[in-house]
């Protein structure tokens, strides 16, 4: 691709620049330079601020839920309040934190840089995505402040369409609008990855982070419209009494579940695939190795995206579906487990004969591996029809999907934030604190959610605000609540020291980890158009042998005295 925009006559700094280089952060100042920016890196930061805000709102709801469950009686909040709390916790975390998290922050920041492009294919649409997200977010906040919703994030009909009198339509519209943000981000990534790769950046040289985002984008493009349609149908039945889902009006409640899970199951892969991409980059860098089985890891992402669309009804094994349909969906659910297993084995094999460093990002990656493995293997229990009947809609399911979506996705997100923070902010975070936070998150997470597997098999149903009928469940709930407190501290720490590092952190070198990948071949923080010259790629992905070979300069450790 030709490079039509010549770089402004900027004096190339000497070895130690006396003044700060121009970069995307100091290129322009003022509120409007942010709110009207089309720079993918600035938009990534806008997303970072907004999803962090929603993460702490969702986390606050989670804390209240855990506090209520500390005692069997419903004594902290009213039943209706509790029902709204878990509903809003789910909706905020799923639609306003997890789905945008890695793609909209790290993906936005890194996809163009990793493939050697100046920006995404449609920078204005990228900004539009953020505005749609914010409009959806404000609508959701308004909905919460004026009464909220009590259906659970799953909106099951006919409860949602004809029985609850909470703000279903408002919440649905908020998700509808935010959904378009997700669709447009996916569209932008697909076009960018197809059309804007630097010369020499072939598909087989793409970082696996890009493959993961490519697979994610396809799900966003194809899946999200279905949830949009579903929301419209719910609103139509609620407002106009069209008989779609409620049998009293001639509808079919199972139809709702099919439509809802057709999006919401693949949505799990929107959350976990990017995280897998992040972890792949981290493991390669900190074991100083090319990823074991590159093409298998790449295509397993695509396989997960494809198979992910074929397993939705495994959420409905007790819903009243035919036994033969259940059989098919159970079988396909095992099929989707294979590519996930392939990934775990390849990551593990990458460590073999590596030269492994234990910096904070790698600790998060190890955490991811452990938690994702447990989350994935408990999926085998849920896919087994006979066991599913007993554990579905219990805390077993709650534990399982938190292991995937919090243990997996959030671990990966935090690992990625640490790994690329020097690039994003141009500053180094305090390594000791970061390692401590990784440890606290890991311990807190397991303490919170492991007891829930036990609770689930013992039969404690989800979404119960009062369990005074079965006080034998209390001790495990107390453990879980204690763990949630630890986990909360673990999540607050990075926010504190990231903010601290922006002011007091040491300046980051361009490539503090001596990592492979084009994003590390540009200054930290990068200039507005990412590269001073358009890069030409002549090497394979993860060429750590070349980076570490003695004739190419100093080995890994000595080049990065600042980071450690």
């Amino acid at each position: 691709m030709p490079n039509p925009i010549p770089q402004p006559a900027m004096p190339q700094p000497a070895i130690a620049p006396p003044v700060e280089r121009e970069n995307y952060l100091n290129a322009k100042y003022g509120v409007w330079s942010w709110l009207l920016t089309t720079d993918h890196k600035r938009i990534a930061l806008l997303y970072l601020l907004s999803i962090t805000f929603f993460f702490f709102i969702g986390g606050f709801f989670a804390l209240l839920i855990r506090l209520e469950l500390l005692t069997p009686a419903g004594d902290l909040v009213q039943a209706d309040t509790y029902n709204k709390l878990f509903t809003m916790h789910g909706m905020v975390m799923v639609f306003f934190f997890l789905i945008p998290s890695i793609p909209a922050v790290l993906g936005n920041f890194l996809v163009p840089m990793m493939i050697g492009a100046k920006d995404l294919a449609f920078p204005r649409i990228n900004l539009l995505s953020w505005y749609l997200y914010i409009i959806g977010g404000v609508m959701m906040l308004h909905c919460m402040l004026t009464g909220g919703v009590d259906t659970g994030w799953t909106f099951y009909a006919p409860f949602s369409t004809n029985f609850t009198n909470t703000k279903i339509v408002e919440a649905g519209l908020a998700i509808f609008v935010a959904g378009f943000s997700s669709i447009l981000t996916g569209l932008n990534f697909v076009v960018t990855i197809h059309r804007m790769r630097a010369p020499g950046m072939t598909w087989s040289r793409l970082p696996l982070f890009i493959w993961a985002h490519y697979a994610t984008s396809i799900i966003q493009l194809l899946g999200t419209p279905v949830v949009a349609v579903t929301i419209v149908l719910v609103a139509a039945e609620r407002a106009l009494h069209l008989g779609i889902f409620d049998p009293k009006l001639g509808g079919d409640p199972l139809l709702f579940q099919h439509l809802f899970w057709f999006y919401s199951h693949p949505a799990v892969y929107i959350m976990i695939l990017p995280s897998m991409g992040v972890v792949t980059e981290i493991i390669a860098c900190f074991s100083r190795k090319r990823i074991f089985g590159y093409s298998f890891v790449a295509f397993s992402s695509i396989a997960i995206a494809v198979f992910g669309f074929l397993v939705w009804a495994h959420h409905m094994f007790v819903a009243g579906m035919s036994v033969y349909a259940a059989l098919v969906f159970s079988l396909l659910s095992y099929a989707v487990a294979v590519p996930s297993a392939i990934k775990v084995f390849n990551w593990t094999a990458t460590l073999y004969k590596g030269s492994i460093h234990y910096d904070a990002p790698m600790l998060y990656a190890f955490g991811f591996l452990g938690l994702f493995t447990i989350g994935g293997l408990t999926g085998l229990f849920l896919s087994a029809l006979g066991i599913n009947v007993h554990v579905t809609d219990t805390y077993f399911v709650v534990a399982h999907f938190h292991y995937i979506m919090v243990g997996g996705a959030v671990m990966g997100y935090l690992g990625g934030m640490h790994f690329w923070w020097p690039k994003i902010s141009g500053k180094l975070y305090p390594e000791g604190w970061a390692r401590l936070a990784a440890l606290i998150v890991f311990i807190g997470f397991n303490l919170t959610f492991f007891p829930q597997f036990l609770l689930g098999y013992m039969g404690m149903p989800r979404r119960y605000y009062d369990y005074s009928h079965m006080p034998e469940f209390q001790i495990l709930n107390v453990l879980s609540t204690a763990g949630a407190t630890v986990l909360g501290v673990g999540y607050l720490l990075p926010m504190v020291y990231f903010l601290w590092s922006m002011r007091y952190g040491k300046p980051a070198p361009d490539n503090p980890w001596n990592a492979a990948g084009l994003e590390w071949k540009t200054p930290s923080p990068p200039p507005t158009f990412n590269f001073d010259e358009e890069p030409v790629v002549t090497w394979e992905a993860y060429n750590y042998d070349e980076l570490d070979s003695p004739d190419k300069g100093a080995p890994h450790k000595e080049e990065v005295p600042v980071a450690r």
Binding site: P253, T348, T373, M458
Partner: protein, 340 residues
């Protein structure tokens, strides 16, 4: 608190044994997989930690390994799948001669009616060792009838019947939960399953009954005027319902369906949807005119006049009073599981 701190739920039905066996198998299999991965992770992490002057050895991958670690897990998954499916088929196939209990769910209670006429709310009394089939529907939203001690759960939907069955193996009182979120008092929609020795159960059953459900249904059948068209002596304007239940019937549009509970229910509430071949569309809908309980009674009545003839009669007789020998056997089983 520690006195009632169990880590394993009570096992009180035949299905619970099958589910627990599969669960233990899965715990072992996934435990071994976890151990394998974690041992590799920890060993590699320690053995190949950074040492100055020892570079990483670059390895591109290995097709043989990739095929191995795709195929072996896949084969293991298929074993789990097949086993899980077998248990599921057992869970979803009620024995033909099971005692029937009608369940109507509403926000936020369980209304239960035995075929013999006993009514209960948020409680279900059953004898140990007998197959019990629940025919369930909801008056409002989706609920789910969940008995952890029996390892069974089935969503209860408005507008149709769903079915769930069990055979209790151990006397005692067990939790009944609503497992599908249904609104404000979802967590209050709980109750007890009381499993009794057969003799105790007979005593309980004989106290305060208003007569069998099918008799109530017969009364409603007459009151609503059903019997003027659905004559039992000669062919009236509507089909004679004797012996209809459980048989394939031919519809006006050419399809053949089995006249099961859901079909009868639909014919009462939406008679035009699946009209019998050879009859005029003259039956009015009873949607809104009869309660869920009355529909259940009508269905029970129509079933009873089918069972009154031929071999079905035998089946219902044996369901009502199982032979003494079988009883003794199940008691022995129940006692055995108690000793465990």
């Amino acid at each position: 608190m520690l006195n009632n701190f169990p880590l394993w739920p009570v096992q009180a039905s035949t299905i619970a044994r099958s589910v627990d066996a599969l669960y233990i198998f899965l715990l072992i299999v996934t435990g071994m997989m976890t151990l394998l991965i974690f041992i590799c992770l920890v060993y590699f992490a320690a053995r190949f930690r950074y040492r100055p002057g020892v570079p990483a050895v670059q390895i591109d991958g290995s097709h043989a390994l990739e095929i191995t670690w795709s195929t072996i897990p896949f084969l293991i998954f298929m074993v789990i799948f097949a086993w899980g499916a077998l248990v599921y088929f057992k869970e979803r196939t009620p024995p033909a001669d099971a005692t029937e209990v009608y369940v109507v769910a509403k926000q936020w209670m369980w209304k239960i009616e035995h075929a013999e006429g006993q009514r209960e709310i948020n409680q279900l009394h059953v004898p140990v060792g007998r197959d019990v089939k629940m025919i369930m529907t909801s008056q409002d939203v989706i609920h789910s009838f969940y008995i952890p001690a029996f390892r069974i759960k089935q969503d209860v939907l408005p507008g149709r019947y769903t079915v769930e069955w069990f055979r209790a193996t151990k006397p005692g009182t067990y939790h009944l939960f609503c497992a599908e979120y249904c609104g404000t008092q979802h967590s209050g929609m709980v109750g007890d399953i009381v499993v009794m020795e057969p003799a105790q159960y007979e005593t309980w059953m004989n106290g305060g009954s208003t007569g069998p459900l099918s008799a109530t249904g017969e009364k409603i059948f007459a009151e609503l005027g059903c019997s003027t068209c659905h004559r039992t002596d000669i062919q009236g304007r509507g089909p004679n319902l004797h012996g209809v239940f459980g048989k394939p019937v031919q519809l006006e549009d050419g399809r053949t369906v089995t006249a099961d509970e859901n079909y009868l229910r639909e014919c009462i509430l939406d008679p035009g949807a699946k009209r019998l071949k050879g009859f005029q569309p003259i039956m009015p809908t009873f949607q809104g005119l009869v309660t869920e309980e009355q529909v259940n009674a009508l269905v029970a009545y129509i079933k009873s006049i089918a069972a009154a003839k031929g071999e079905a009669a035998k089946a219902s007789a044996s369901a009502a009073a199982p032979p003494a020998q079988e009883n003794a056997q199940t008691n022995a089983l129940a006692n055995g599981s108690q000793v465990q």
